[in-house]
Symmetry: C2
Subunit: 202 residues, 2 copies
């Protein structure tokens, strides 16, 4: 069975792929709207992990709509969730996709699909959407990351990561300036993987 | 790292152990209040899977209190959740326990700990509580079960399983008769593992 793991180059999506590796054929998938070289950043991280990787480029109208949402709201949650849902639907509509995974943890609030949205996607597209870390808290994830990955952590404005936020920030910066980006996005710690520590035990 | 996987002999707890096996030292743990030989049933299933197994025997007062709850409510949910929480606390209070896992799926409603209960247990006892199947829907679980296990399915009154329900049903039967058990518990399909299909690929 093959699984397409949504991949940002960060610790959660990397660990998700590692946890699924003994049971699935792994493919890492990164979304880019081609505003920044996030596909290349993710591709390098994927090579470090030793997994095949591809970049999908959904229609720019998704990012445009997310821009409208975030400018209206003044905070990122709904815009990021909109991109997340749209990207999963884009991936699910590919007839070769059967399992889609992402790195959501137990305590994550954004991006997050509601149960009804998950069931709707699974039913409409005939796919399975799975979140290997959904039953793991932050501390448990950190224990596993420590065993399997070397990571670099930094503030979100300084680490170029292949997540939905990166290109949305860039679009706002281009249109409204850096000040507006800082107004809207709370600064938070991002991780980027540097090295995979060891192969799986068994 | 060692993980204690709560084990009923059914497909969900079996699959949870299999998913964690490449990353943890697995120990299967079954709770029994010694009303029925559920420990022995689970022990045989554990041997089939090839994992070490032990039976814990928390104080019978837990089952007594669950009996009071269910007789008051007339339905099983709160009583089963009470046993579940008490058993996890019993296990977490053992200083050798660091990770506790159970086989809750995405769509399971009983037994279920609330987020605040999970955080309280993790903080008070210094353990990690993880649910490897929490991010998997029923259909995705079934795909994985098909790859890794041969199971037998039957109605809950006919399959002797080592779950919390089994001994609670027995206590009600002893005190109030079989008719009362049928009044309170909806009949549902239970699984019991028969065979492990293959070793892990890697």
């Amino acid at each position: 069975m093959q699984v397409s793991v949504l991949f940002s180059g960060g610790k959660d999506s990397s660990l998700s792929a590692i946890l699924l590796e003994p049971f699935f054929e792994i493919e890492l998938v990164t979304c880019s709207f081609s505003l920044l070289p996030v596909g290349e950043v993710a591709s390098e991280a994927a090579e470090t992990l030793g997994f095949p990787h591809r970049v999908i480029r959904p229609d720019i109208s998704i990012l445009e709509k997310a821009y409208d949402i975030i400018m209206q709201d003044g905070f990122p949650k709904n815009a990021i969730n909109f991109i997340h849902k749209s990207v999963i639907e884009h991936l699910a509509s590919d007839e070769n996709t059967s399992f889609i995974a992402d790195g959501i943890r137990r305590d994550d609030r954004v991006p997050l699909l509601e149960h009804s949205q998950i069931r709707s996607i699974e039913d409409r597209f005939g796919v399975h959407y799975v979140c290997p870390l959904k039953g793991f808290g932050r501390a448990a994830v950190n224990e596993l990351v420590k065993e399997h990955l070397v990571i670099e952590e930094g503030l979100s404005e300084n680490v170029l990561k292949a997540d939905y936020e990166t290109e949305l920030r860039e679009l706002i910066k281009q249109r409204n300036g850096s000040e507006k980006v800082r107004d809207i996005f709370p600064t938070h710690v991002q991780s980027h993987i540097i090295e995979r520590k060891k192969a799986i035990m068994n």
